[in-house]
Symmetry: C2
Subunit: 224 residues, 2 copies
DNA sequence: ACCTGAACACCGTTCAAGT
DNA sequence: ACCTGAACACCGTTCAAGT
């Protein structure tokens, strides 16, 4: 008896909503990292059972997508200046920076293409920038795909969480490359390993923009 | 007593070796897919306990890398003809085709950069092709990174295993885009969804080659 | 309709103990 | 040195049963 009274002992358990679930997930993400954002941990945070979450979220992949779109909300409205190329580069850099904070999310985004509100806003803005640059329409559409994939994949590469280790493996292999069996690698060793991540990213974006503006899309393009 | 006799009852259990482990892993991969290539399943196949594998393989990531390099052995020696651009495109297409058979491996390769024998062979060949095209040396090194990342990421995108589902989500969002809030998406809807995967891949590779040949690498490139 | 506990069917990795 | 069983510390998802 008197359930109201005992309820008041601790903060009222808020009703489950999709939005509340995603918000709690973002909280865990920020405090403990993506790896801890599991259905079970999330349910625990919301004082319920993991099974209850499946009423609002189809599966873990959808949860990750919702989290990403939430994070994307902050970058969509980032102002920038300069020509369309610079503004496009700034926008992509901001997108990549967000993903680099949680590379595991980038991995999810690569596998399950996002389709959330803020992601669509990003696509919209990028299309407008390419239009401003007088890039032909078909190349705009295919081009943003390439650009977003590049930023996403670059962030995803860091999903091994704190491992100077794997990188070392490639660096060692490159340095130890035999000059007779692998003359090219030996000759290019320094360049293969050079460059700050930001430098590489900036170069990559410019490579893509140049390539996109200069490469015609095939005339016949059947819908997939 | 007579342990030799009872041993002969079933095929002699072969001694564990790193090579044998990787070969068994490739077998499971081909029969049942990457998802089934787990330490436990692999140990079962080799008639031992999962813990025993850790003598030869540091962890699952390293196992995946070893599997990938094994698969790469077949493509490294694929002959091709045409100019350097065509041969480069053919090589990358063969690499991508291998990864597309097992997109989960592509995901692993993206996160833990490969450094196996056959991967290095691929790098070596690509560097030589860009040299043939008189691409400046620094751009060759940075360029192959971009090209390999593109092929790997494109394959990794298919790691959701049989889901027309996620793709539908984006397609639906694009088709339902509001003309007033998302005029660009509405205008580009058809192009955003057009193109066979092979067409897109071919275009992407050519975009990258064009961009790489035309975009200078920064003069100051501190080693990472 | 929503929520739950319990179960199903798994994981990777470590470690003490054996040979 | 190599190999093992058992344990530790988890997962996602489903489902029958409750409200």
């Amino acid at each position: 008896m008197a359930p109201e009274k005992s309820r008041r002992e601790r903060p009222a358990k808020p009703a489950l909503t999709r939005h509340g679930i995603v918000a709690a997930a973002v909280g865990i993400l920020r405090e403990e990292g993506l790896r801890k954002v599991t259905m079970r941990r999330l349910a625990q945070e919301l004082d319920t059972g993991a099974a209850s979450l499946y009423v609002y979220v189809r599966n873990t992949a959808e949860l990750h997508a919702a989290i990403l779109d939430e994070l994307l909300g902050t970058i969509t409205r980032s102002s920038s200046d300069g020509g369309w190329r610079d503004r496009l580069e700034q926008l992509l850099t901001a997108y990549a920076a967000t993903l680099l904070e949680y590379p595991g999310l980038a991995l999810s985004a690569l596998v399950a293409r996002p389709s959330g509100k803020n992601y669509l806003g990003l696509v919209e803005t990028m299309l407008a920038l390419l239009a401003e640059g007088d890039v032909p329409p078909e190349r705009r559409a295919w081009g943003i795909d390439l650009l977003l994939q590049y930023a996403t994949a670059t962030a995803a590469e860091h999903a091994d969480e704190e491992s100077p280790e794997e990188w070392d493996a490639l660096a060692r292999a490159v340095h130890e490359a035999d000059e007779t069996t692998h003359p090219q690698i030996a000759a290019h060793a320094a360049d293969l390993l050079s460059g700050q991540p930001a430098q590489r990213m900036s170069w990559g974006i410019r490579v893509l923009i140049t390539g996109i503006t200069g490469t015609a899309v095939p005339a016949e393009r059947n819908p997939t």
